[in-house]
Amino acid sequence: MAKSIDTGTMISETFQRKVIEPSTPSAYSDSCHVGPDALLGIKRQQTNPTRWNGQSWQEFAAALRDHDIELRENIAARGTFATDAGGTAYGLPHGVVIARSAAQVSALLKAAQQFRVPVTVRGGGLTTEGESVAFGGVLLDMTGMSQVLHVDTDALTVRTEGGIFWHSLAEELRRHGMDYLSAPLNLTSSVGGTLGVGGIDVNSPRLGCSADQALSVQVVTPRGNIVECSDTQNAELFQRVILGYGQFGVITEATLKIRRYTPLRMHYFYYDSLRIAVEDMQLLNRNDASDYSGILTIMDCAVNLLVAFDSDEREAAFRANWQSHLRGHGEPGFALCMLRRYVLRPWKLPEAWFLFQRKRELFPEFRRSEYMRDGLMHDRTVVFSRAVWKFWGSKQMVIPDLATSAEKFVEAVERGNAVCRKYFPHYTLYCVGIKLRPEHKAHYEMSCIPPDAEGWAYGCEFEPMIGGQVYSRDYFQSFKNAIYDIGVDLGGSYYRFGGMMKGYIRRVFGDEVVDRHLAMKREADPAMILNRDVIF
């Protein structure tokens, strides 16, 4: 039998235990989000994997025990990781291991390779297609490796363990007056998970994606070797690990670029046309006219372009050279626009009411006094991320996306918007540019970066507001397929192409590229145990 949790080391028996019956059975039934209206006749593209059969599990567990690795097999530990942020893929691992060191991860992977036991690595678990859900085998919880190892304020680098949440890293860096460059706006994605997926921030149009911040990483390969890699050392492995969806190794440590912390000078422009807002955002990006930019829609006729700066000088240059080129309005101007719109269309008053309510709820959140000093926004990632969770987070999150070259982006957004309209009464689009690094072309192959993008790639997330509504999984699936089909059509890519959407990978990248990567994967991971069913 494998080791169980030793809670006794944490606390003495203050209380004796007794068995307790569930107090509110309804709480369990309320949590089921799969509606009874499964749509018949929709061609399903999803590839929800079957559960691993558990062969040799006992031998594997014994091997871990020999290495003093704590394996938790109780339902509490396994149930904690039954789904990811998406909440549509469900699976239980046979056991959970909390990552504690590269050596421990190495021993785990060697045993997994020997007994052919699947290992699913989980950082923040913020995937939405089940990529970080284990359908049997071991779930490796990377958050156990959350230490910051060294901050170098002269070289502007940090060495950190791979399981750390970006927010925890930011907390540590701020004690040194520093900040990371760019990271997902949600506080709880992990460094390792993000380097493998991408990492888009509103400063990505200028600084690139998070994955491009990594100077080097320590990786435990699927065969259990601990390897340091970078652009100059073991470069091939580095190319496959960065943006590689955890296929070629577990990221246990990373050295990242950092910068001095600055508060933000924020500007918001409002548009009633998606196309014009996107064109203006691209204008700013092309001309390096702002430090931050991104689009967030309330409705497709109420589009917000956020523009921000790290310094007074950059803001002044924007005001002098670029502000007049933007076709958006300030808040009062846009309110007048909307007034005109709804006076002429009184039958659309419910829509106006929705807009008004949304503004009333959302806007104060971005102007909380404790984050504003002398007109500057401090700790923007906290402000944005908390708003993201508060207003868009829920137990089920369906966020398909499209990534294209700059030229194809307007079309992708408009077509994706039409799909959203068809499926949901309310939804949000989040659009942002990603500055590419030509020298990282090899990193980008078979990743979220579209193959034809030069200079910038652009991404748009399509996020329905589900609220209290119940939709079937098939309904969500057909919505996602409709969005992803646009990507195939345009020759783009996706930020979330793993997991249940892996069926799209061959359609998007073609057999030649996929087969080449598959051959590399087989070589690196003979038993195909690491993050199985995410890509291959």
Partner: protein, 330 residues
């Protein structure tokens, strides 16, 4: 149509609503020490959603320090403290808790003493153990004629923290004299939270806020101070107090034990058994994190338990707010 304004007017929710966002981990001292999700609200709520036997979260329920830092950050507005206390209630009571309940029952049978002043300071045990600081606090808050002190609340606080059921009769006996008070000042942040629920119309304030509002105390706060906010009181009225302390920062320039989410970092991480002295506390990780990277000359605390921990961990002078005012003002 408005269904998706999920937090507008929504009542407190329960474990079934946990989205697994992990925001509670970021602020949890138990998580900082253990890096073990199973010891956090996310861990036990997610496990409860997916087939946990209800005896299983005992470890996380027992380890929780009730700092309440996780509540204001939870985007689903889950009553995390209430759930933890409810789970504690369902664990069987150890001997000391049964004795405590007997004591409360005996006290409830005795007549209620009439209040001697219009305001009352409900002290905690640490303050009572430091009579000089207590006396200064009383004088700053209005003087002995105007303010009476009471340690009558210790058992109630302890029972609350242990998740013990407090009968209607016992609670009434405790609340009756308080109803006549113009102002109730409370040293224990957990008791503060419950008093606000029990006496919604009374004027109830935490000791830290009461003392930091005193002009003589404020005058002596300076930009090189690290001001350590007592987490329980702060988190129990977070939306208001985050603004209150931010104003204090603007006017006095001192640093606070706040993280980037403006959540108070506890300087101690003691679960109930450690607070009762049944097991050894291990505050080192927390105090180190509070002090890490600070350029300060002095530490000012609202809570005496935290003073002791910080004195042990640093070479800076550590003073309680009550000891900050000039002698002639006390």
């Amino acid at each position: 149509m408005l269904g998706f304004f999920k937090n507008a007017f929504s009542p407190r929710r329960d474990h079934a609503d946990c989205s697994g966002c992990s925001l509670c981990l970021l602020v949890c001292p138990v998580w900082r020490q253990s890096r073990d999700i199973s010891l956090t609200p996310q861990g036990h709520f997610k496990a409860m959603q997916h087939g946990l036997s209800t005896a299983d979260p005992a470890a996380s329920v027992e380890n929780c320090t009730l700092c309440m830092a996780c509540e204001p950050v939870c985007p689903e507005n889950i009553d995390i403290t209430g759930t933890i206390l409810e789970l504690r209630r369902q664990l069987s009571a150890p001997l000391w808790l049964r004795e405590l309940q007997t004591r409360i029952a005996e006290r409830a049978a005795k007549p209620v003493a009439s209040p001697t002043a219009s305001s009352i300071l409900l002290t905690d045990q640490a303050l009572l153990a430091h009579p000089d600081t207590l006396a200064r606090a009383v004088r700053l808050l209005g003087g002995e004629g105007a303010i009476s002190t009471s340690g009558d609340c210790f058992d109630i606080s302890l029972a609350l923290e242990a998740g013990a059921t407090i009968s209607e009769q016992h609670r009434e006996r405790f609340l009756t004299p308080l109803r006549q008070m113009k102002k109730i000042i409370v040293a224990d942040g957990l008791l503060l939270r419950y008093l606000k629920q029990w006496l919604p119309y009374a004027s109830i304030i935490g000791l830290g806020e009461a003392l930091s509002g005193h002009a003589g105390v404020r005058r002596n706060l300076c930009a090189t101070d690290l001001y350590v906010i007592e987490p329980r009181a702060y988190h129990s009225d977070y939306q208001r107090l985050v603004k209150y302390y931010d104003r204090l920062r603007v006017t006095h320039g001192c640093a606070f034990n706040l993280d980037l989410q403006r959540i108070a970092i506890p300087a101690t991480a003691r679960n109930l058994s450690q607070r009762l002295g049944l097991t050894m506390p291990n505050d080192e990780g927390q105090t180190r994190w509070v002090l890490h990277g600070r350029s300060i000359n002095r530490i000012v605390v609202e809570n005496l338990e935290e003073r002791a921990a910080l004195e042990k961990a640093s070479s800076f002078p550590v003073v309680h707010l009550a000891d900050l005012a000039d002698v002639h003002e006390v």
